[in-house]
């Protein structure tokens, strides 16, 4: 295409302008700004583009501002070798005219427009036009030659037919379509392929999920199986532990019983020790008693010796009244002996009674179940036994006074002996003498009458001395009686007994309290009662034996009677009084006195005394065993006493004249006799006490009791040791800990069993829920689905990879071909460039034949990095190269540059000028500029048109 002439009328700011262009070479259109240089290109474009009736917006801008005139463009050009005249008027008097030479074909109106467009399209490569006809706004853009069909045609031609565009393009397009079925332009999977990948991934995830669920179930199954096993094991252990706890519990109970036994034995041992102590104390008391008896014996012997001595002294001192004095002394001694015998027997009788009492007391003391009663009774007895030491002392003194007075009376009063000789009744002081030939001796201490009724009455009056002595004796007896009455005791013996009873009662109370305390300590009353019953039975048996062996029958009977009576202290006291009364009664019994074994008395009596006192007496016996025989012996003794008194009275009557000396001797003898009697009484008391004690419990029994208590204590101690050993062996101490440990372990095990059961229930619950979900089916289904999706994916992938592989291979080969093919273009650009930039100038072209980079002096710069001037120069170089390539046939277009190269320095501009000139040599070059110095003088041979 060649532009020959362009005419503008009322186009933008241009009123009228005609421009002519040379057929070839460079035309520089020089004009100031706003003179319409750019309108030239616009007019040319609108001419072919818009019909005359167009209402296009951009057309409006063409009409001169404020003037309602038509705008007209006319051009004369060569298209496809034909000369074309084309004129168009818009807005008013619209017009389109086309004439084509040779031939002179003419079109008008729309036809003209269409024909012109057809001609332009047929003969002008639009891409080439766009590349070479450049408005000033595009001056810096480096055109891509690959988009210019004419360039490609030219390159194909130069490639000599090796490039087969025609055949390859559909294939390339088909490959591209195939590729794009699977991939995006950037190579990412797309469409079905992407969906297949996505589905495969989804299905994989689903499989993984369902597998995970199944794995959970399997874990639960395994865990349930394990839990079941564990629970069974734990349950078994728990049961074992249960048995162990029970066993330990039993063992501990046994151990506790052992400990209880030890406690009981310890209490028994304490009691046994107390028993030993008690037995020993008893034995000691017995020893003391024996010692006391020994002492009393000695004292009695001494007193008797003293009495004998005084008697001898009396005989020696009273030579003259020796016989009388002796007789008197003997008589006195005899009388004292008789009285002592009476006392002794009396005391013995008391002892027999007391033994029975003590037997009962002992029985009572040993009656543990009645210990409280005993205590109370002992206390009561104590209250009643009002004879304390002072009272005893007073009674003893009174008694001694009586004895002294009586002795004095006996010595000083006359004695009358009455004997009935015939059958006539004889009364002695009003009392008939019942038997004949029996002497009755009466001490005449008051008026005493002997009357034979109807025959005679003889009154014997005592002398003044005797009456006085009788008064003294009566007074002393009165005093003693009063004192005894005060004390409530019949005689001194009872008082002494009461005093002893008081001591006993005190001791009994103490013992009862001790026993009570001991017996009750740590033990139940029932136990004590049972033990006591046992003991009592045993003691009663022993006692019975002892009594049977040692005590005469009647004593045993008394004891037995008293036992059955269940007698009390009161009764004993009463009994004592009764017995004393018996004894008093016995004193007056007419039975003969027993003869005391006293050879001295016998001797003296046999020499000088009248036969009256030497009457045969009943055989003397040692101390009798029974109360009855004792009473008999007492009677005899009292009779002997009476006889002795009779002898004494005779002696006194015979020896009245020696009374003074006799009295002195008598006083001494009396004192010695009193002392001897006292000592003898005390000895008798001591013996009685000892005998009673022995009768109650023999010495050997006491020793045996000690031994027995010790043996029992030892046996209990042995039992205790054994029991303690058993406790120790039973491991009672650690059993508690072991039981506690075992119990804790049992609780832990039970807890574990429960925990396992809970876990198992939970897991089984989870399994049941899982079972209802069909997880295996779901997993199978997911796997099957995955298999399908993977199959599908594999197929698509295979196809996708085949497409990608084919595309890549094809593209690679095409790129290589294109490089070979683009070589002429590159060579042309580089040839032009070397003029401007020197011999090192090189460019590299891309797939679309666009310049990718420029290299100068070894420095390669991508186009985007070039300076504005360099880029403008490069753009111009590429356009000139394209123009050069396409100028060879008629389809070439002019190179039109609007206001280009404004950024180039003068040196480069000079070189560019040369190139433009060279381009002008082969084609039409039109340069529009407002800068006259840019081309004028730089482009050799350029024609300058000023507007």
């Amino acid at each position: 295409m060649r532009l020959h002439r362009l005419t503008l009328r009322d186009f933008r700011g241009v009123a009228t302008r005609d421009l002519d262009f040379d057929e070839a070479g460079v035309t520089v259109v020089l004009g100031d700004n706003e003179t319409g240089k750019s309108s030239i290109l616009e007019a040319l474009s609108l001419l072919f583009e818009l019909p005359d009736d167009s209402k296009a917006g951009k057309l409006k801008a063409v009409q001169p501002a404020g003037r309602d005139v038509s705008s007209e463009v006319a051009a004369e050009l060569t298209l496809g070798g034909q000369r074309v005249h084309y004129r168009k008027r818009w807005f008013r008097q619209r017009l389109t005219e086309l004439r084509v030479d040779p031939g002179g074909h003419t079109w008008t109106g729309r036809e003209a427009h269409d024909e012109a467009a057809r001609l332009f399209a047929a003969h002008v490569d639009g891409s080439l036009w766009a590349a070479l006809v450049v408005g000033q706004e595009h001056a810096l853009a480096v055109p891509a030659a690959g988009s210019v069909a004419a360039v490609l045609t030219a390159l194909d031609e130069s490639a000599g037919g090796e490039v087969d565009h025609g055949a390859s393009v559909p294939l390339v397009a088909a490959v591209e379509r195939e590729y794009q079925r699977y991939f995006t332009r950037t190579g990412r999977p797309s469409g079905d392929y992407a969906e297949a990948i996505s589905r495969r991934d989804q299905e994989r995830a689903r499989v993984a999920d369902s597998q995970a669920l199944l794995a959970e179930v399997e874990q639960d199954v395994a865990s349930a199986e394990r839990l079941t096993r564990d629970r069974a094991t734990m349950s078994a252990r728990s049961r074992e532990q249960e048995a162990r706890v029970a066993e330990l519990s039993d063992r501990r109970q046994s151990a506790e019983e052992l400990v209880g036994q030890v406690d009981r034995l310890r209490r028994d041992a304490e009691f046994a020790a107390a028993q030993v102590e008690s037995a020993r104390a008893e034995a000691e008391r017995r020893a003391a008693l024996v010692e006391e008896v020994r002492e009393r014996d000695r004292a009695a012997t001494e007193a008797e010796d003293a009495r004998l001595r005084t008697a001898a002294a009396l005989r020696a001192a009273e030579q003259e009244w020796e016989r009388a004095t002796a007789a008197l002394r003997v008589a006195r001694d005899e009388q004292a002996a008789r009285r002592a015998e009476v006392r002794r027997l009396d005391a013995h009788l008391s002892w027999l009674r007391d033994r029975a009492d003590l037997a009962r007391l002992r029985e009572r003391l040993t009656a543990v179940e009645e210990a409280r009663e005993q205590e109370r009774r002992a206390a009561a007895a104590l209250d009643r036994a009002n004879v304390d030491e002072a009272a005893l002392e007073a009674a003893e003194t009174a008694h001694v006074d009586v004895l002294a007075a009586r002795a004095a009376l006996a010595a000083g009063a006359p004695t009358m002996v009455v004997r009935r000789l015939g059958d006539a009744g004889v009364e002695l002081s009003g009392v008939p003498l019942e038997e004949a030939t029996v002497e009755r001796e009466v001490t005449v201490d008051r008026d005493t009458t002997v009357r034979v009724p109807d025959v005679v009455e003889v009154t014997v009056r005592p002398g003044t001395g005797a009456a006085e002595l009788a008064a003294v004796a009566a007074s002393a007896e009165d005093a003693e009686r009063r004192l005894l009455a005060e004390l409530g005791r019949p005689d001194i013996g009872a008082v002494r007994q009461a005093a002893r009873s008081r001591v006993e009662a005190e001791r009994a109370l103490t013992v009862a309290r001790e026993v009570l305390t001991r017996r009750l300590e740590g033990r139940s009353f029932a136990d004590l009662s049972a033990a006591h019953d046992q003991l009592l039975a045993r003691v009663a048996d022993d006692e019975a034996d002892d009594i049977a062996e040692d005590v005469p029958e009647d004593v045993a009977e008394d004891v037995a009677d008293d036992e059955t009576d269940g007698g009390s202290d009161d009764e004993h006291v009463g009994d004592g009084v009764d017995r004393a009364a018996d004894a008093v009664a016995t004193l007056f019994d007419p039975e003969p006195l027993p003869v005391r074994d006293s050879s001295a008395v016998k001797e003296s009596l046999t020499v000088d005394e009248p036969t009256a006192v030497k009457q045969p007496l009943s055989a003397r016996t040692p101390l009798p065993g029974t109360q009855e025989s004792t009473r008999e012996a007492l009677g005899r003794a009292q009779a002997e006493d009476v006889a002795a008194a009779k002898v004494l009275a005779g002696a006194e009557a015979t020896e009245a004249g020696v009374r003074t000396a006799f009295e002195t001797a008598r006083d001494e003898a009396t004192e010695a006799r009193v002392r001897a009697e006292q000592a003898a009484e005390r000895r008798a008391d001591a013996h009685a006490t000892l005998d009673r004690a022995r009768a109650q419990q023999g010495d050997e029994l006491l020793t045996a009791a000690v031994d027995k208590a010790m043996q029992e204590a030892a046996a209990i101690a042995a039992d205790l040791a054994e029991a303690e050993d058993a406790v120790s062996r039973s491991g009672a101490g650690e059993l508690g800990e072991r039981l506690a440990e075992a119990t804790t372990l049992r609780a832990q095990l039970a807890e574990q069993v429960e925990h396992l059961q809970d876990e198992l229930s939970r897991v089984e619950g989870a399994l049941e829920r899982a079972g209802a979900q069909g997880l295996a089916t779901a997993a199978d289904r997911a796997r099957a689905e995955l298999a399908h999706v993977e199959e599908h994916h594999a197929t698509l992938e295979r196809r996708a990879l085949a497409a990608a592989r084919l595309r890549e291979t094809l593209e690679r080969h095409r790129a290589q071909a294109r490089l070979r093919y683009a070589a002429p273009l590159r060579d042309r650009i580089e040839a032009l460039g070397r003029v401007v930039h020197g011999p090192s100038f090189a460019v590299s072209l891309g797939a679309d034949l666009e310049v990718e980079a420029r290299t100068v002096d070894g420095i390669r710069l991508p186009v985007s990095s070039l300076s504005t001037g360099a880029r403008e120069q490069l753009a111009t170089l590429v356009r000139l190269a394209i123009a050069g390539l396409t100028a060879t046939d008629g389809s070439g277009v002019p190179v039109v540059l609007d206001d280009a190269l404004g950024w180039s320095d003068p040196g480069r501009l000079q070189a560019m000028g040369a190139l433009l000139a060279r381009a002008g040599a082969t084609g039409q070059v039109i340069l529009l500029t407002s800068a006259p110095d840019r081309y004028v003088g730089t482009v050799p041979g350029a024609r300058v048109v000023r507007i």
Binding site: S168, V172, A174, L767, A770, G771, A772, R783, L801, H813
Partner: protein, 393 residues
Amino acid sequence: MPDTTPHTTPGTTIRFLHSGDWQLGMMRRFLGPEAQARYGQARVDAIESIGAVAARTSAAFVVVAGDVFDANQVDRKVVLRACEALRAVPCPVYLLPGNHDSLEPGSVWASPMLAAHLPSHVEVLRDSVPRTPAPGVEVVGAPWRTRRPLRDPVADVLDADPPAAGGLRVLVGHGQVDSLAPDVGEPALIRQDPLEEAIAAGRIHYAALGDRHSRTSVGESGRIWYAGTPEPTRPEEEHPGDVLLVELATGPGGSTCTVTPERVGTWRLLSQVVEVDGDASLDALDRWLGEQPDKARTVVRLGVRGALPVAGLTRLEVLLDAQTEVYAAIQRWRRHWDVGVLPDDRMLDDLPVTGPARAALEELRHTVASGSDDAAEAADALALLHRLAGGAA
């Protein structure tokens, strides 16, 4: 198969069915969803077929020797359908838990749904207490209580007291027999020797075994059998698809045992490996596939070996695509799928391809011929080029 054993007295005759390995709920990956559903239904239908055989043969009872369900976690629908199908069996049925459906915690046998729907004439052998479906006949199960037992699962039953004199005892067991097991170290194998001793001693008269999906007679006694699965599950199985009709009788000389397979299966799973070298071989494959009966219930595991021209490859694909629509499934057997392209195919030469495209074609052809790792992909690309360039028209 006659046999003489002592301790039996004449008079008892019993006829029953022996099945096993129903594997209800099993899914096969090579089946599409639709075929999968039909396959699953076929396994349920097999129960009804067994019921029909029972009716026809007047069987006294049916024993199912384990793996009734494919898993303990099967879908509830599977359980319900099984229960429904079991109603069609006209005689008592004894189901034995096997390794797939062992009596482990949470097993399908413990599901309330099964308890609610299992017909009354069906009993699960949860223990080894003898059942007496007929006078003088005992059924003794050896259920799997866990899926990984550590000893011979039937040992305890063999050690139990023998049946009463003259009685017949059927052992229902599950597991691999040691003589057939590939791994003798597996602890849960059924030891064949004691089993045969028990049979010889008259303590057991028939051992109905499950686990092996191929119908198999074990040993020489003729009384130890695997019934095989009623519908095939793998192409490798031999003689699947049957139920065994067992007839036990005591006679004057001892007891006799006769075992007859009865067909119930409707599906076939085939393995086929073909050699291809050109159109003739493809014709043969096409013909073979076309000749198979009952394709909708047939699965072919297909192996293809050899090399084809590009067009042949394309034809193979088209051919298989078409048959896949007809068959239940045609599974490509990876292990035996080795088909290459013939690189010197004249058809490639004749393609209207020039310039860079021709160069690309030649490069791909060269790669295919080299047999390198990417040869298969190159062959695919070559086939694609062939098609896109109009060669496959």
